[in-house]
Amino acid sequence: MANVDTPRPPGRFAQLALSVPLILAGLAGGVSLVLVVLGGLASILWVGVPLLVVFLAVARGLADLHRRWAGRMLGTPIPRPYKPPAKGMWRRARRIAGDSATWRDLTWLLCNATAGVFLVALQLVLFLGVLFYLVAIPIIWQTPAAHLFTQDLGITTIGPRHNAWLTGVEAAICLIIWFLVGKPLMRGHARMARGLLSPGKKARLALRVQQLTEQRTETVDSHAAEVRRIERDLHDGAQARLVALGMNLGLAEELLASDPETARKLLAEARASTGTALSELRDLVRGIHPPVLADRGLDGAIRALALGSALPVDVHIDLPGRPAAPVESAVYFAVAETLANTAKHAHAERAAVTITYAEGRMRVVVRDDGRGGARRGPGGGLHGITRRLAAFDGTVDVDSPVGGPTEVIMEVPCALSSARTSPSSGTD
């Protein structure tokens, strides 16, 4: 299954191929650091300012490159820690200077130019050692004994052949060492980059506060809109119908003696009106919290959803328990919306919903064999789902190449309550 979040970490030889650019980048970083410091000192005299600006930008560029590299090496993306840029030159400069991420970047430049370059270079040298000894074997083989270290040991004599064999052994030892420590060295380099380049504790908290503030505003807004919609639906729907019903019944009561035929008609009308009111209330309740979700939890509700879907949907659910009701509801509506989108736009023959749970996260995958090309536009269905799940720190990824298939992957961190027995009779 394609996972859009984490591409595979680069292999041993890709790491090897990249070590030369990494070393060069490390050294260039060192030079940038020196120039930033010089620029900083010289900015008292104004001349240093352009130097400072240019090489701070270079430093950030290098840091970004290494964030990507280290993120791929370690399998988890490293977020950028910088504060959003301020308006105005002075304020911008002050914000950059006051951003702890800037100072961490500079510290990293120093560490990377020294320890970082050392780690990568060590890995490279070990491999080059292998090549060196391999090339040396035939040369030593053919070198006349007089030019080599020879020694009569009594039993045997160390000659050119022995020297060549020994070189072979050295090549093998080098290869083994490279094989064993090459990857850990490169990972060490990546870990160092992650340690200094990912947001510090303070920056992380600031980022989180900002995120939560945005989410809270969105949640409160959408909740208020929802309540308004329900109020309006009740006011114009069921309430109005009950009023009309009361009037019909009152009229019928009056006419019962004088005009029983009209009274009968009015009563029939009143009954029909209760039916409509009930059906409106049912639709409203489904939109608030589907009864089948309350009855059977996600498992039953998604199966019911699949049965009612416009296209055949395969359902695989493997949950060891039930998540909290708000999470269940959010995931249910997210799946409902995704399936509705699929039916409307994907031109698919089949769809599948898979729900699994591992390491404190519920993972929901909605897949279809349609024409792909699904996008997350503002105001679109996918955008709404993303917002809905964001309230629970959930994420939505869309993998939808043109030509299909489309995969919408939702992940929500949540705890599960202990499993509830559910009837197995004939649900499939």
Partner: protein, 215 residues
């Protein structure tokens, strides 16, 4: 006829008792929660049971579970399930033991007393009573929709009424045609859908429902 009632809301329970007694049913027990309903169903073995899906203590699908459990212990026990909403999933579960004598209706239908009493009698007699809303949901399913396009408008009407569980005579009455004409339509429907024809009304109903459920 002896009836066991499963309904927790006093207002609705009293209304149902009043309607049922007025039509010569005897309500032997009315339970207001899942466990006591199951006990009542198994001990009284009534001629028919009228059961609300949502009951205490969990206020989820307690009544439906009690009905399914009771039918597992007393095969063929006729049960009519009432609910504020209908779910295909539940219709399937009720129909899955294919014993007949099953009904699943919206509570709204009770207001048409004649039709409701007819449905109770039908279920008591081992027949089927499915809510029109269940049937219309089934008919729009993609797996069913394609072959159904071969049917004429009249045949579709007959199919809908048949799936609700009505006999040929009742369908004839509803559509203002002769029973013979309905029989002809039924034959044609079964041929077009590739189903095996049966003389028994209820067997026909179950065959149609199984077909629409995609089994």
């Amino acid at each position: 006829m002896r009836v066991v009632l499963g309904e927790d809301l006093a207002l609705l329970r009293d209304g149902l008792i009043r309607i049922l007694t007025a039509h010569e049913f005897e309500v032997v027990e009315s339970a207001d929660n899942g466990p006591s309903l199951l006990r009542a169903l198994v001990t009284h073995r009534p001629d028919v049971a009228v059961v609300d899906v949502r009951l205490p203590p969990t206020f989820t699908d307690e009544g439906l579970r009690a009905a399914i459990d009771a039918r597992a212990q007393v095969p063929g026990l006729p049960i009519l399930v009432l609910s504020q909403y209908v779910e295909q999933l539940y219709a399937r579960e009720l129909l899955s033991d294919s014993g007949g004598g099953v009904g699943y209706l919206l509570k709204d239908r009770v207001s048409d007393v004649g039709q409701f009493i007819d449905a109770v009698r039908r279920v008591a007699g081992g027949g089927t009573a499915m809510d029109p809303e269940v049937i219309s949901q089934l008919l729009t399913r993609p797996r069913a929709a394609e072959p159904l396009k071969q049917l004429t408008a009249r045949e579709r009407e007959v199919l809908e009424l048949m799936a609700e569980g009505r006999s040929n005579a009742a369908i004839a009455g509803r559509l203002f045609v002769t029973e013979k004409a309905v029989g002809k339509h039924t034959n044609s429907i079964f041929t077009k859908l590739g189903l095996e024809m049966s003389e028994d009304d209820n067997r026909r109903v179950l065959a149609v429902l199984a077909y629409l459920n995609g089994e």
